[in-house]
Subunit: 144 residues, 4 copies
Amino acid sequence: MSQDADQLAKACADSMWANDQASSGLGMQIDKVEQGFAQLSMSIRKDMLNGQEIGHGGFIFTLADSAFAFACNTYNQFTVAQHCSVSFLAPVYLNDRLTATAVERNRTTRSGIYDVTVVNQKGDTVAEFRGHSRTVKGQHIPDL
Amino acid sequence: MSQDADQLAKACADSMWANDQASSGLGMQIDKVEQGFAQLSMSIRKDMLNGQEIGHGGFIFTLADSAFAFACNTYNQFTVAQHCSVSFLAPVYLNDRLTATAVERNRTTRSGIYDVTVVNQKGDTVAEFRGHSRTVKGQHIPDL
Amino acid sequence: MSQDADQLAKACADSMWANDQASSGLGMQIDKVEQGFAQLSMSIRKDMLNGQEIGHGGFIFTLADSAFAFACNTYNQFTVAQHCSVSFLAPVYLNDRLTATAVERNRTTRSGIYDVTVVNQKGDTVAEFRGHSRTVKGQHIPDL
Amino acid sequence: MSQDADQLAKACADSMWANDQASSGLGMQIDKVEQGFAQLSMSIRKDMLNGQEIGHGGFIFTLADSAFAFACNTYNQFTVAQHCSVSFLAPVYLNDRLTATAVERNRTTRSGIYDVTVVNQKGDTVAEFRGHSRTVKGQHIPDL
């Protein structure tokens, strides 16, 4: 991907992040964004634990879903999640540091498929996520 | 389902709920639990909004996932989510009241499939979720 | 559903079936079609067995996919499968008679979700399928 | 992967293929098998066309499912498909030559996730498939 493409990607991410109370409220941080790619990380807090003292799968999904959202919105076109699936492969615990890496698998004019792998601080995969996106009207920033 | 089965279901849910900081922290409430069935509701708060001022799909998933968890854990056997898929059908907004209804579609000795429909306060469907569960060792309460 | 709606559904199915070499070539038959609903059946032949002498999952999927296609095409608007998922719950054997029942779960202007359950001749569920459809240009028969 | 591992993979594939009437009956051929990897190809025949004169999605799924099966059975342990999802990205036509490439994404003692991409003779992606496998009792060949 060209330098311009990655600059556009970062500008889109900055614009999204500025108002994304959900992702920042959960303590996520953006580690890296490039065209069709995003990496976000988040720590498992006490308020993310379920009845078995393990992290609620919903928060693992939410981290993956945010990584997916940032990756598919790197073309300066509003893009939304249409369908997502997730496989939970290992439990996560209090204070685990999760990293979600979203990679573009396929992209046509309107639709995209993104694969997101979530690992813990030891590098063990805790979830595999696949997201299907669809572009809608609107763009994140004025045309450069 | 017999009265005993539903009493067991409720006892399992009470036991899970007592320590589920994730679900209660998000403001969920359990509306109804029966054997193989659960209904939970939650309001969309300001800290659940993403960059487009609509509810982050992750919280819709989390509500559905909790309903799924309560429904598949009604047999007094620890049961975990293995694979889930979700289709987002309509956006949700600040203060929307969402209700997730989880119904058992299939259950064998070890595995189960649960369908969860999430509607808003107007009764419009905002998401369709399907969860695949698997039982693990352990039970919620001592045998009655 | 009104009588007219079901007549339209049947007319669409007749039009599709007339040229559907795939479904008829596999020995499928249409048991019932109504608006948003279809039931098809098929027997497991010798050429559908895989290396373990059990029916290849691909043919179970294909039966479910055909039921889905007939159900989502009952509105006289060309409609295609966009995304499908299937869970294989029990093996199928030579001469098993499978019945796939497709029920509409959700439908908007352009998109639909259909659940298909596949049972064998004993009524045991062998697969659960969920299909996501999308309408495209064109219709099956001239407007009545 | 070591040479031994790939030899074992090929021996497993040979054993499966010998009795797989379904895959051979559809005209599939195995292009390549390695540990955790398989590539199969197949041409779209007249009896695979549906009512719109395009290839029935069920056959695209079946090719992907076979590639998945050969890839996840390369460890000389019987392994079955548990859950699969497929996205249909472009139509296929009579005489199209499809190639399905199955790559292992994740594997634990009992479970695996495999991604299968199906392309046509022009290299255009026509489907993306993800399969979840589970090992069962039995092995393909005696221990070497």
